[in-house]
Symmetry: C2
Subunit: 142 residues, 2 copies
DNA sequence: GTGTATGCAAACTGTTTGCATGGAC
DNA sequence: GTCCATGCAAACAGTTTGCATACAC
């Protein structure tokens, strides 16, 4: 369930939940939008300046491995991550190009088999990312 | 048309077609699959060892700007490019995970509006990449 | 002739790694 | 007590930039 997987204890799976990792995970969740590792490090170091960059990188790798954090795109050569709370179920992402808000999206590929048939490819995997404006940004016209 | 846009003269648009750029563009086309800038530089420098890496980077930027070359994914931290010949028309890519062959694919998102409606997002852009095995790799069982 | 493209090397950015120390379990 | 996680700094990989020269147009 999304509610359960939102819990920080799930962020690192079997890994240790150190104060630094807790700070990093809370920072990721509080950002509430897509972020680069740099964004995350900045937020985490604001809360605890003693946290090193290497720790942030290692923590992100760990959180990505458990699926608590997901890659949702890239910006200026850096990977964008987000904690969307959709858990293990197959899904994609809606990313607001204005504020960076990320929402899980249902998989829109209902006829992948048809494509395989026409091309001769057997499709084993796919990536879909939808970009747009979220309701809040639409309302403010930004 | 794909046939016209396949021509090297279109690769750099209004830019100059120098011998180096011609070599680089021909290398890109002859690879016939997704490649990193490193792969391309290796192929181009095999043909003309005097070509510098910076020139390859600059040429790729130019070819990407005209749409002659497209980003089709990433591998080990580097962007994957391909010359798929689909021209200006809206399309996505089928990438063979075994040999790297790239084929243009029709856009499989026929009901994007429905997603916008349920989420409140207005979708302005999207990225889709399909991964799988091409007929040749299926036949050889690789 | 003008201005873009080139090659080289240095500079940069983002990321990873080695190692001694600290602390979660 | 064991072993994973940390912080620091050095190392690294990929990419970009400055500059003088060459050449496409």
């Amino acid at each position: 369930m999304a509610a359960i997987r939102d819990d920080l204890t799930y962020a690192f799976g079997a890994g240790r939940l150190t104060p630094q990792r807790q700070t990093i995970a809370e920072s990721a969740r509080s950002l509430g939008r897509a972020f680069t590792i740099d964004d995350l490090a900045e937020e985490a170091r604001y809360r605890d300046p003693s946290i090193g960059v290497a720790t942030v990188y290692r923590a992100v790798s760990a959180m990505e491995a458990t699926g608590w954090l997901e890659r949702v795109g890239e910006r200026a050569g850096s990977v964008l991550y987000a904690q969307c709370g959709a858990g293990d179920r197959h899904h994609h992402h809606l990313v607001c190009t204005s504020c960076g808000r990320v929402e899980p999206a249902e998989c829109p590929l209902h006829d992948v088999a048809a494509h395989a048939a026409t091309s001769g490819f057997v499709i084993t995997n796919h990536e879909v990312t939808l970009y747009g404006l979220c309701p809040a940004c639409l309302a403010t016209g930004s």
